[in-house]
C-alpha cells in the first residue's frame, strides 16, 4: 500500500503542483480551517472540518456565461475564458465528495453545463476518512459515512494513530495523481485508524414522508423562527446550487454572469407583478427542507443533503437542517403515539 507521513501533506501538495495541478487543500485560516488554493508555505490542517465546502472550485461564486462587445446601440457576442485548470483537491471530506452526485445530476439532467463538466473532468478529488466527528456532523443520517468513497478519485486513510496516511487510488484519475505524487508516497504498511462514530440523528425517510403530508403544517413557522433569511447556509452547503443570471456592463462591453443565489432570500421567487409564491421565511424553510429531502429524491433519486453539518456550525439563528429534521421527526413521533 502507498503511505506517507501525516505531516507530509505539504510535500504531496508541492509534488502535485510541480506536476501541473492547481492544488486545493484545507488550510489554517486564523482560528479556522478553510479549503483554499494551496501555495508553498501554506499550513495544511486536516483536523477540523473545513468551514467551506469544495463547491466553489467547481462551481465558482460568480462566472461569465456570455459576453458582448457594445458599440452605441449595437452589440456583438464575444468569446471568453472559462478556466478549468487541472486541479487536485486534497483531504476532501466524504460528505463533500458525495455531494458531487447531486450537482452532476442538476447540471446534466437535460442541458449539459459546459463549465461544470469541464471542471469536473479536470478535477481529481482525494478524500480523507474522518476519524473524528463533531456534534453537527450527520452523514450517517443521510446515507453517508465517515469513510464513504462516493465521488472520490482517491482516498487518504489516517493510520497508525494519525501518524500516517494511506493513499488509495479509486480509479484512473486517482492513479494519475498517485503517479504524480512520486517519491512523496512510498510503499509501506500501516494500520488504518477507525473511522469516526457518527450517531444517526433523525430518520430522513420518515421526515420526507411527514413533509409530503404536512405542507400546510404550522410546524414550519415554529421551526423557522430563528431564520433571518440570509444565504450563509446555502453558500457553505456542498449540494446547494441555485444561481442567478445577471448582466453587468460598461460602455463598451457587457457580461452575463451566473452568481450563487439562494431560495432563502425573499426576492428569489418574487414575480415582476409583485406576487411572491414564498412570501415568508416559513415557506422558504419548507422549500429548503423539502427540496433536499423530498423533491430532489422524487426527481433525481438521491438526497440533496450529505450531512456535512456546516449549516449548523455557521448559522447565527440556530437553523441547522439536522436540528429542523430532528424537530420534525419528534413532532411526527409525538403524533404517532
Amino acid at each position: 500500500m502507498k503511505t506517507l507521513d501525516a505531516n507530509k501533506l505539504s510535500d504531496l501538495a508541492a509534488a502535485l503542483a510541480a506536476a501541473g495541478y492547481r492544488v486545493v487543500a484545507p488550510l489554517k485560516d486564523g482560528a479556522e480551517v478553510r479549503m483554499k488554493e494551496w501555495a508553498p508555505g501554506a499550513a495544511i490542517d486536516i483536523g477540523p472540518v473545513p468551514v467551506n465546502s469544495i463547491k466553489e472550485f467547481l462551481f465558482p461564486r460568480t462566472e461569465v456565461v456570455a459576453k458582448f462587445s457594445l458599440e452605441g446601440n449595437d452589440f456583438k457576442p464575444e468569446p471568453f475564458e472559462t478556466p478549468a485548470p487541472k486541479t487536485a483537491i486534497l483531504a476532501v471530506r466524504p460528505c463533500d465528495a458525495s455531494a458531487m452526485a447531486a450537482l452532476d445530476k442538476v447540471f446534466n439532467w437535460e442541458y449539459k453545463d459546459d463549465p461544470w463538466n469541464a471542471r469536473r473532468a479536470a478535477t481529481t478529488l482525494v478524500s480523507l476518512v474522518c476519524t473524528a466527528a463533531d456534534e453537527d456532523c450527520f452523514c450517517t443520517s443521510v446515507g453517508g459515512a465517515p469513510d464513504a468513497t462516493a465521488g472520490a478519485d482517491a482516498i487518504l486513510r489516517p493510520a497508525d494513530g494519525g501518524k500516517k496516511l494511506i493513499l488509495e487510488s479509486l480509479g484512473a484519475k486517482g492513479e494519475a495523481l498517485v503517479a504524480a505524487a512520486g517519491a512523496v508516497v512510498a510503499e509501506g504498511r500501516a494500520k488504518a485508524d477507525s473511522p469516526a462514530q457518527v450517531p444517526v440523528r433523525f430518520d430522513a425517510k420518515a421526515v420526507a414522508e411527514w413533509c409530503a403530508g404536512n405542507f400546510e403544517s404550522p410546524l414550519w413557522r415554529e421551526v423557522s423562527l430563528g431564520c433571518l433569511g440570509c444565504g450563509a447556509c446555502a453558500y457553505c452547503c456542498p449540494t446547494c446550487h441555485c444561481f442567478d443570471i445577471q448582466d453587468e456592463a460598461t460602455r463598451t462591453e457587457s457580461v452575463r454572469l451566473r452568481n450563487w443565489d439562494t431560495c432563502g432570500l425573499g426576492l428569489f421567487t418574487l414575480h415582476a407583478s409583485g406576487h411572491n409564491p414564498r412570501p415568508d421565511q416559513a415557506s422558504r424553510w419548507r422549500q429548503r427542507v423539502m427540496h433536499k429531502f423530498s423533491y430532489f429524491v422524487e426527481k433525481f433519486g438521491i438526497l440533496a443533503c450529505t450531512g456535512c453539518g456546516r449549516c449548523g456550525r455557521i448559522c447565527p439563528g440556530g437553523m441547522a437542517i439536522a436540528q429542523v429534521c430532528k424537530e420534525i421527526d419528534e413532532a411526527r413521533k409525538a403524533v404517532a403515539k
Binding site: A66, T82, V106, W109, D113, Q246, D247, S254, P277, S294
Partner: protein
C-alpha cells in the same frame, strides 16, 4: 469558448406595436438563418424564450406567435422593471438577444376533432394567442372554438385588432369582458370578472378541452367553475408562470415541488397541478 446553454441568437425588431399602456408586441426576425432553422425545428406551441438586452439582462416571455408562421416570432411584454424597460427602449431595426425555445408545449395533436375553450385574462393572452393562431391556422382539424378574454379595463385588452378579427369569424365564438368599472361608454362586450362571465356563458364541456391563462387570482376562481361545468382535470390546460433565470432546469428558481416549470412546464394539466405543492398559483 461559449457556454452552449447560454449562447444567444441575435434577433432584429421588425415591428413594434403598443397593445395597452406599457404593453408592447415585438415581431422579431432571426439575424442568422441557421438560428431560425434550429428554432423552428424545436418550436411547438406553448414554449417560451429568454429575450435580452446585453447590459440589462434577460426576461422570460412565451413565444406569442404560432409555429405555423416560420418567418418570425413575436413576443408581448409589459414594462415592469429593468429588463423590460431596456427592451421597450429598443427601436425598430435594433437587435436583442434570444435563447429558446424552452419548456414543454400544448399537446395540440391530441386535440384534433375536439372543441376548444380558450380562457384568458389581461396580459396572459399572449401565451394563449400562439395556441389560438395555431388552431385557427389549422381550423378544419378542430371542433368548436370559443374564446373568453377579459381584462381590468378596455385599455388593458391586448391584441385589440386580432380580437376584432376573431370576433368577426364565423367559425369562432368570442366573448370579451372587462371588470366592473372598466367599461367605456361604447363598450359592447360583457362586464364582469372572467370566472363570473364563464359561469354565465356556460360553454358545454362535452368533448371539449379548456386552456386557461391568467393571473393567479383569476385561475383560482376559474378552475372551480370549469369543474362545475363538467370539465375533467385532464381536459383543463394552463401555463404556470414562475420567476425564471436559466430557463434550462438548473438554477432552481422556478421549482415547484420536484417540477421545474421551465422544463416540465410551463404547460400543465389541472390533473398534474393537483399533485404539485402550489398553495396558490
Amino acid at each position: 469558448m461559449t457556454v452552449a446553454t447560454y449562447q444567444t441568437a441575435m434577433m432584429k425588431i421588425v415591428t413594434a406595436r403598443d397593445e395597452a399602456p406599457d404593453v408592447r408586441t415585438f415581431r422579431l426576425q432571426f439575424a442568422d438563418e441557421p438560428d431560425r432553422a434550429r428554432f423552428f425545428e424545436k418550436y411547438r406551441v406553448g414554449m417560451f424564450g429568454l429575450y435580452g438586452v446585453p447590459g440589462a439582462g434577460e426576461s422570460t416571455f412565451c413565444v406569442a406567435s404560432p409555429p405555423t408562421r416560420t418567418e418570425y416570432i413575436e413576443c408581448t411584454f409589459r414594462k415592469t422593471g429593468r429588463v423590460t424597460a431596456a427592451l421597450r427602449d429598443r427601436e425598430l431595426g435594433q437587435a436583442i438577444t434570444f435563447r429558446g425555445p424552452y419548456g414543454n408545449s400544448f399537446p395540440i395533436e391530441t386535440w384534433k376533432g375536439r372543441n376548444i375553450l380558450f380562457i384568458a385574462g389581461g396580459i396572459a393572452l399572449p401565451p394563449m394567442r400562439s395556441v389560438i393562431w395555431n388552431v385557427l391556422d389549422r381550423r378544419k382539424e378542430f371542433g368548436d372554438v370559443t374564446i373568453l378574454y377579459g381584462a381590468r379595463t378596455v385599455a388593458d385588452l391586448v391584441y385589440k385588432d386580432e380580437l376584432a378579427e376573431w370576433g368577426g369569424r364565423e367559425d369562432v365564438r368570442l366573448v370579451t369582458t372587462v371588470d366592473p368599472g372598466g367599461e367605456t361608454a361604447d363598450w359592447k362586450g360583457q362586464i364582469g370578472f372572467v370566472p363570473t362571465v364563464l359561469e354565465q356563458t356556460a360553454p358545454a364541456s362535452a368533448n371539449t378541452l379548456a386552456v386557461v391563462c391568467g393571473p393567479p387570482i383569476m385561475i383560482k376562481f376559474t378552475l372551480p367553475v370549469l369543474t362545475k361545468l363538467g370539465f375533467g382535470p385532464k381536459d383543463v390546460y394552463t401555463t404556470l408562470e414562475n420567476r425564471m433565470k436559466c430557463g434550462v432546469g438548473q438554477c432552481g428558481r422556478c421549482n415547484v415541488g420536484s417540477v421545474y416549470v421551465c422544463r416540465d412546464g410551463p404547460v400543465f394539466t389541472l390533473d398534474q397541478i393537483k399533485h404539485m405543492p402550489t398553495t396558490d398559483m
